[in-house]
């Protein structure tokens, strides 16, 4: 069975530094061993601009969704259309959090990008903007899930956009040729995703392949350095990135 390595990072953008507000991007990774195989999960969320507690919402949902995918992996994989089931879980958990913390449900809004792997099966989930890419063993890089924006640049769909029922995109399948996946928020998109061509630049391959030769810790440090020194200089927005790769 495949073994995977995971690294992720997030960094505050110039806009939030200037306004003295917190970074609203978050990432989370989860590796859980069980008798049925090891679960590998990576999630990334970008909290909604002016929503007061979207950093809390982003942090909460990246953790919750991975524990949920771990416990329900087979069920989601075998369910014909699991989007509604997953979306209802997300809404219920955010609602519970809003009640528990006595804060507005909408203030917990964020995008959500997830990659979950068990055995040779993968489940991808995506709400809102940001990009998910896949690298295959022939070194071809493909955009797996494009940003779901509204017409305007400052509009997208969030975990709490209950009016838009089709906001959660789910892709399921077998690993086959894939060796790595990359997740990024819209801030990172500015540097690593060609919007006109809807394609990921080659630097994404390099980043994914770092995990083939370096430890997760070294790659995570490199991601932090790149976010802080390079990618957040190209945008006003927060930046986050996550990579998961087969160990060869």
């Amino acid at each position: 069975m495949f073994k995977w390595k995971i690294a992720s990072a997030y960094a505050i953008g110039q806009g939030h530094i200037k306004n003295n507000t917190p970074c609203q991007d978050r990432t989370f990774k989860l590796i859980k061993k069980s008798s049925k195989g090891t679960f590998y999960g990576l999630a990334l969320a970008d909290g909604a601009g002016s929503c007061k507690y979207s950093d809390i919402g982003a942090e909460f949902i990246t953790k919750k969704i991975l524990y949920f995918f771990n416990s329900k992996f087979s069920y989601i994989l075998n369910k014909k259309n699991p989007s509604v089931y997953i979306r209802q879980y997300i809404e219920k958990e955010l609602l519970n959090l809003s009640i528990k913390k006595n804060i507005n449900f909408k203030d917990l809004s964020s995008t959500l990008l997830v990659v979950a792997i068990k055995g040779n099966k993968v489940i991808i989930g995506h709400i809102g903007d940001g990009v998910i890419g896949v690298l295959d063993k022939n070194s071809h890089l493909k955009t797996l899930s494009k940003p779901m924006n509204g017409e305007y640049s400052n509009s997208t769909f969030f975990t709490t956009s209950t009016y838009y029922e089709n906001r959660l995109k789910i892709i399921k399948g077998s690993i086959k040729e894939s060796v790595g996946f990359i997740l990024m928020s819209d801030g990172t998109e500015e540097s690593l995703y060609n919007k006109q061509m809807e394609s990921l630049v080659d630097a994404n391959k390099t980043i994914i392949n770092w995990l083939n030769t370096k430890s997760e810790k070294i790659v995570e440090n490199a991601l932090i350095q790149n976010l802080e020194q390079v990618l957040t200089k190209q945008t006003y927005d927060d930046c986050s990135i996550g990579v998961i790769r087969i160990v060869e």
């Binding site: 979207s54 017409e151 305007y152 400052n154 997208t156 060609n194 980043i207 790149n226």
Partner: protein, 229 residues
């Protein structure tokens, strides 16, 4: 790529175009604007240009066009980056073809959005500023319908601006996409600069906005503007 350092270089990154904010000024240059009003309006537009140029983000984001209406309608400045534009000359004469002026402004905004989409350029919701000191001399009903449709679908922000006390507030209210169909009022030509200062600060805020962010423009009253409800 600096291999050993694992640091990306500038040439490893894509250079996506800056997200654009198209802004169309739809200006009354009819005969009643002759004299001090047109001179002050020129200065106000000039101030707006300079204010946008001095903002490090708005400078690359805001794209400006100007449509003027009198007996006829003319696009005197088409959309482009503000660094490549020159402040056009304004001359006042003739009637007040406001309806035709707004329709032309809407058409060029729509055309620009199509150009952005075809080139993969992200953009913000377009803005239009409609300024007049009088009453329309043509039929405005179609233009009002077009603006209402766009406004209700959140596809346009239109700020109607009355210049002085003789502007037709009731028609301007019908064009407004602001809360409670508000109309901004510039007390006299001497206050144009204040209005354009408010406008430049407002577009600068939009040009920095990110998804989910509630846009709060500065309070117009702090810029010597009146609000007609």
């Amino acid at each position: 790529m600096a291999q050993d350092l694992m640091i990306l270089r500038q040439q490893d990154l894509v250079s996506n175009p800056t997200t654009r904010l198209p802004v169309c000024l739809c200006l009354d240059v009819s005969g009643s604007m002759h004299g001090e009003p047109i001179e002050e309006l020129k200065k106000g537009v000039g101030y707006f240009f300079e204010a946008i140029k001095s903002d490090e983000i708005a400078r690359y984001s805001v794209e400006l066009s100007i449509v003027v209406f009198q007996s006829s309608v003319t696009t005197i400045l088409d959309f482009a980056n503000i660094d490549r534009q020159r402040i056009p000359s304004l001359t006042a004469s003739g009637l007040t073809s406001m309806g035709a002026g707004v329709e032309q402004a809407l058409n060029i905004l729509e055309k620009r959005k199509t150009e952005y989409s075809s080139k993969g350029v992200d953009y913000y919701q377009p803005w239009m500023v409609l300024m007049t000191d009088g009453y329309s001399t043509d039929d405005t009903s179609n233009a009002i319908k077009m603006v209402a449709r766009l406004g209700s679908n959140k596809k346009l922000t239109l700020f109607p601006v009355a210049i002085g006390d003789n502007a037709d507030i009731s028609i301007l209210k019908q064009f407004s996409t602001m809360n409670q169909n508000a109309v901004l009022k510039v007390k006299s030509a001497q206050y144009f600069k204040d209005f354009f200062e408010w406008l430049s600060q407002s577009v600068a805020i939009v040009s920095q906005s990110v998804p989910g962010e509630k846009i709060s423009a500065p309070n117009p009253r702090e810029f010597n503007l009146e609000i007609e409800l």
